[in-house]
């Protein structure tokens, strides 16, 4: 219990840390709430005074003065209360904005291995609804809690000044109130965590199934998926219902305890009033205090409520933030204008993950090669031999475990990641489209790239033809999943992009493979020109692509088997030769296959 409490406090302190940039404003809000907390308890005191001095005695002359004082207190409390409520929201939203951007940036910064493992739905929940839960604490939470605490102090002060016996009677009930609140806190906390988990599961399922609805429908899986959804939905409901149960028990309990206090005040107060030790006005003031007294406690536990859910959300957010798997950015090196483009892999070992026994599951095993400036290199090998990995490593999507990767003689880990990727142009086999115009999808919001550059690039590969036919042409809105564009058209877009970005090193991942012969021809032509003067690394299993290469890297089970030109390799009679013959012979075989 105590360990958990310590953790809570640490977590809370960390959440409050986000308010530090606004500490002056928080201080101001704090002053406001101090005044408001004083004005509330002042009212029963004034009413008690009015009853004792004027109403009981029947001297109504001075009553108006007290009434004016009451009115002033109410008006002031209202105005300051409003200002305070808006103000705390304002502070909170500033802080929330900071947290949200921080989480987003953190997530975005993570290396790809993080994204390989984490479902997007979960990350969306972190940046949206978990942050939202935190907002309740940051906006009202801290100041409101302090305000309530002050209110308690003020009420206690007023009570003791009026009658210490009744004050003690009222305070005697306090421990019960605290106990109930503590019990509630203990039970609800774990429940909130469970609820959030279920909400995330529900969101993940929704996200994935809405995205993959086509597959669900095509495969007629509606019924089965419905059942799975119902199960997840049911788990979610069960978690929620447990929370409801604790709430159902807690709120009445608080009311009952408050009533016990009132009952005892009447009893003790009445008995002492009979001897003249207490006036009716004070008794009435105490009945009001009794209600006022429990309101902040109730609010506080209510705040505990939001605090609970916020803590659960915060824990998840901090889990993400603390688990930084982004690549270390040293970036000490002053970047040159452009890369010359010499690429060296030195004894590179790499694993995406560890095996169950903890040893790395090597994907690349000591790969070494050199691509000189301006050379066009092709990587060949069977599927899964590590071709794509080499590209990902050159782009520094992942960090290698052993060895070095050098561009122009400099380790890529010593360069600014942004600069490195900026100078390397990548064409991916899986073409992703953002919602927005064709223009946006090509330029990716890079203000340095003009529409003219894009049109020129499109023309140079003959892709302007199909874009011109779209309604709105370059401003044609691509639907979220790019439904209105075919795979080939999308690949053309990524080629236009790579041309517009004008990189020093060009990297292609099986990109030409799914384009029809016509388009491929178009791109082949454009590529030839683009490749001129640029170092390039192309993953392909098409002979047409690799035959033009200056050097061919033959990968086999994560190791570089051979390197050389087509002729050299064929003459060497090694693995490449076999691979080549196999592909060549198979193609021949199909051509001659009997109908």
């Amino acid at each position: 219990m105590s360990a958990q409490k310590g953790l809570d406090r640490k977590l809370l302190r960390r959440i409050i840390g986000y308010l530090m940039p606004y500490k002056h404003w928080v201080f101001l809000a704090f002053c406001l709430v101090l005044i408001v907390s004083f004005l509330g308890p002042l009212r029963p005191w004034l009413i008690g005074l009015a009853i004792d001095r004027h109403i009981v005695s029947g001297e109504l002359d001075g009553l108006s003065l007290l009434i004016y004082a009451l009115l002033a207190a109410i008006a002031l409390e209202g105005v300051l209360g409003y200002a305070n409520a808006y103000f705390t929201q304002w502070i909170g939203q500033q802080a929330i904005y900071d947290v949200r951007v921080r989480v987003f940036n953190h997530v975005q910064k993570q290396s790809l291995s993080f994204f390989d493992r984490t479902p997007i739905g979960r990350l969306i929940t972190r940046t949206t609804s978990d942050v939202e839960a935190l907002s309740d604490v940051l906006s009202a939470g801290v100041v409101v809690i302090l305000g309530d605490l002050f209110k308690l102090v003020f009420i206690a002060a007023f009570m003791f000044s009026l009658n210490w016996v009744l004050a003690i009677v009222t305070l005697c009930v306090m421990p019960f109130m605290l106990m109930v609140t503590m019990w509630f806190k203990r039970n609800v906390r774990g429940q909130y965590r469970e609820t959030r988990k279920q909400v995330a599961r529900l969101n993940s399922f929704m996200q994935e199934h809405v995205t993959g609805m086509l597959i669900v429908q095509l495969f007629g899986r509606e019924k089965v998926e419905m059942k799975r959804f119902e199960k997840i939905n049911d788990d979610h409901q069960t978690a929620q219902l447990k929370t409801v149960f604790y709430h159902s028990l807690f709120w009445p309990a608080v009311d009952i305890i408050a009533s016990i206090a009132i009952g005892f005040i009447l009893w003790a107060g009445g008995v002492s009033a009979i001897g003249g030790a207490l006036t009716v006005g004070v008794l009435i003031a105490f009945i009001q205090y009794c209600r006022q007294f429990f309101e902040p406690i109730r609010n506080l536990s209510d705040q505990f409520n939001t605090l609970q859910s916020a803590m659960a959300g915060a824990e998840r957010i901090f889990d993400v933030i603390d688990n930084d798997q982004s690549l270390p950015e040293s970036g000490k090196l002053q970047p040159p204008e452009r890369f010359d483009g010499e690429i060296i892999f030195e004894e590179v070992w790499f694993a995406y993950k560890n095996l169950d026994d903890g040893t790395p599951d090597w994907v690349l095993r000591g790969v070494s090669f050199k691509i000189s400036k301006g050379q066009n290199a092709a990587i060949v090998g069977a599927t899964g031999s590590g071709k794509t990995t080499i590209i990902s490593l050159l782009m520094r999507f992942y960090d290698i475990q052993k060895g070095r990767i050098l561009i122009d003689g400099q380790d890529i880990r010593s360069m600014k990641i942004k600069y490195l990727r900026w100078r390397i142009g990548l064409v991916l086999q899986d073409v992703f489209l953002f919602s927005g115009s064709i223009f946006r999808n090509i330029a990716l919001d890079n203000s340095e790239i003009t529409i003219e550059q894009i049109i020129d690039a499109a023309k140079s590969i003959g892709a302007d033809h199909f874009i011109e036919q779209l309604p709105g042409r370059y401003h044609h809105e691509v639907r979220e999943r790019g439904v209105s564009l075919s795979q080939g058209q999308r690949q053309l877009l990524s080629f236009i992009r790579v041309l517009a970005y004008d990189p020093d090193i060009l990297v292609l991942d099986e990109a030409t493979s799914s384009i029809d012969t016509e388009t491929e021809h178009m791109i082949q032509r454009a590529l030839e020109r683009v490749l001129q003067g640029r170092t390039s690394l192309v993953v392909a299993h098409r002979l047409s692509t690799i035959r033009h290469a200056d050097t061919i890297l033959v990968l086999h089970k994560g190791a570089l088997h051979e390197q050389g030109t087509h002729n050299e390799l064929v003459n060497a009679g090694g693995l490449y030769h076999t691979l080549y013959e196999l592909q060549y012979l198979e193609q021949e075989q199909i051509v001659e296959m009997p109908q």
Binding site: L444, N446, Q489, I515
Partner: protein
């Protein structure tokens, strides 16, 4: 608010919870309202006893009078405690019925929404952002639940307490009641104005929330691209911008919501002042007692929360109605492709004879025809290959066959029956479709394959994985077929993921197998082995194949060359070669390349 009335049938469904719930609410409110009456009697008894006590000053009776009073007050106290215990018990029961019912309704509503989403066609999904759908299915439903549960609970309880309190007050003094309630009447107008504003602003807030969510979703889905082009900063800027707008919307809402509490405070405070001021005079005139003032103060205090709850409830209902509107926007969207009275449910099986009759299609009314006048016949068991340039309509054609869209003109006939008369489930059951876009669920490879058919056995999974040339590769993974794939199948290579989708289609043993450029990421060697497996099945299924490799197309019984949405050429490999048109050109070019490659 109209959208909320549409939820009424849910209340009826759970009347077994709601009816007792409402009864519990009323009972608990009545017990709560009885407390002030007891308090008044206790207070009023004090002066009486005090007078009596002083009259018997210094007599033996005074002592017993003291104890008499002592016990009387204790009984009052115990009654108060007893009443609140009873009230508390029923409050507990109220929450356990009404709030539980609301959770049930939330559950039902979510299921209904998801079920409906499954029925909506591709055309719907082309028009709506994924993030938007998710927001509706999550936070909008939560808003609606707050109306169905807490809002109903609070408002009922509030109504009962307000009515009961006012009645009790009127019995004591109509004048004082009038003055005490005067400020409260102002509240109605204030609530209305604030609520209107809250409604408008919360709607804007929700919209922005959806916008924010889809922004994150998109960036994360395209993270590879974002990183490759070092666009993190622009993405951050865009996200910051959305967050900033969200913050402004939130503060706009806060400006009006901050008014709730002060409005109530001032109104209730004024009521209290009235009670003391006017009540003081009435006490002086001897019309009411001091105890009545205490009683009135408690009534006003008792009404504070219910009246405040009215405000909250209205704000909840405002939000809920906005959310319900968004949910119903989806639920009201009639699936444009579904079984209807034309469907002939006696059809249980499809043989696989496919015929297109003068089929034309356009995606939108303002877009040009994507397919124009397509006619062909594909006998059951035969294979058809479709070739053509990018954007010539190949994928559209097979999307029509799976009935993802309806043809704008013409008919598609399967086994001699119009496709519209086939039950959708029978049609889709018969088609094994491997789409161009690889989509896998974040589940194990085995489960992704088994997704193709209900109740697939381990052998089935192995068999189809083998036919898709996936088995060997996967068995090399430490967990074999149990290896998990990332959300978009990231830990698999492009070719492996593609072969998984092929296995997923093959496990269905489909009558019609459709491969939409499904071998593009697979190397030639593997491709040939897969085609070999498929050839073994020849005659068992009709096959439609889109490919750019002549090598895989050549063997087809029939080849269609599409050009700008029209059939340019049609025939077998031999007849098309003889025709010496587009196909022959394509073939020549590939052959030339292959020759070039093979010689040097």
């Amino acid at each position: 608010m109209q959208s909320l009335t549409r939820l009424n049938h849910y209340f009826i469904r759970y009347w077994r919870l709601y009816v007792p719930g409402l009864i519990f609410t009323i009972i608990s409110a009545i017990f709560a309202i009885a407390v002030p009456v007891v308090v008044r009697q206790a207070i009023d008894s004090i002066p009486r006893f005090a007078t009596l006590y002083s009259q018997f000053e210094a007599t033996a009776l005074q002592h017993s009078l003291y104890w008499n009073f002592f016990w009387t007050l204790l009984i009052f106290a115990l009654i108060i405690i007893g009443l609140s215990l009873a009230s508390g018990l029923f409050t507990f029961l109220m929450r356990q019925t009404v709030v539980v019912a609301s959770r049930h309704i939330e559950f039902d509503l979510r299921n209904t929404l998801y079920e409906h989403l499954q029925k909506l066609s591709t055309r719907f999904y082309n028009h709506i952002k994924t993030g938007d759908v998710i927001t509706r299915a999550t936070s909008d439903i939560e808003q609606v639940r707050r109306y169905i549960g807490p809002a109903i609970m609070y408002s009922t309880r509030a109504l009962v307490i307000v009515i009961a309190s006012i009645t009790a007050m009127l019995i004591i003094s109509p004048t004082l009641t009038l003055y005490a309630l005067m400020p409260l009447s102002l509240l109605a107008a204030a609530i209305f104005i604030v609520a209107q504003l809250v409604h408008k602003r919360s709607e804007a807030l929700q919209r922005q929330y959806a916008q924010l969510t889809s922004r994150v979703q998109e960036t994360l889905a395209g993270i590879r691209l974002v990183k490759a082009y070092a666009r993190e900063e622009t993405e951050t800027q865009a996200f910051e911008n959305e967050s900033r707008i969200y913050k402004l919307r939130m503060l706009g809402l806060a400006r009006v919501e901050a008014a709730w509490r002060p409005v109530f405070l001032i109104v209730v405070g004024l009521s209290e002042v009235m009670v003391v001021w006017v009540g003081g005079r009435l006490v002086a005139e001897g019309l009411i007692t001091i105890g009545n003032i205490a009683e009135y103060i408690i009534y006003v205090a008792l009404m504070t929360w219910p009246v405040a709850a009215f405000g909250l409830v209205i704000s909840m209902m405002q939000r809920a109605s906005a959310s319900a509107e968004r949910i119903y926007e989806i639920l009201d969207h009639v699936p444009d492709i579904s079984d209807d009275d034309r469907s002939n449910h006696s059809i249980m099986k499809i043989n696989g004879h496919v015929r297109f009759e003068r089929v034309s299609f356009r995606y939108e009314d303002d877009l040009p025809l994507a397919l124009q006048n397509i006619t062909f016949t594909l006998p059951a068991g035969q294979s058809l290959a479709i070739v053509g340039r990018t954007g010539s309509g190949k994928t559209t054609l097979i999307d029509l066959l799976s009935r993802l869209y309806e043809p704008s003109e013409g008919r598609i006939i399967i086994d001699g029956k119009d496709i519209k008369t086939l039950p959708l489930s029978v049609l889709r059951e018969a088609v094994g479709y491997v789409p161009q876009d690889v989509f896998l669920f974040s589940d194990s490879i085995g489960n992704n394959i088994a997704f193709g058919t209900v109740g697939a056995s381990k052998e089935d999974i192995h068999q189809s994985a083998h036919e898709a040339e996936l088995l060997e590769t996967v068995l090399e993974f430490p967990l074999g077929l149990n290896s998990e794939v990332g959300e978009r199948g990231v830990s698999l290579s492009g070719g492996q993921a593609q072969r998984t989708t092929i296995a997923r289609a093959l496990i269905r043993k489909p009558r019609i197998l459709v491969l939409d450029d499904a071998l593009s990421s697979v190397d030639t060697k593997t491709e040939n082995r897969i085609l070999e497996h498929l050839r073994k099945r020849q005659g068992h299924h009709t096959m439609i194949l889109i490919s750019h490799r002549i090598s895989s197309i050549k063997g087809a019984d029939q080849i269609i060359v599409l050009d700008q949405g029209q059939i340019a050429e049609q025939g077998t490999h031999l007849s098309l070669m003889k025709l010496d048109g587009l196909y022959a050109q394509m073939y020549q070019r590939q052959l030339l390349k292959e020759r070039l490659e093979s010689f040097n």
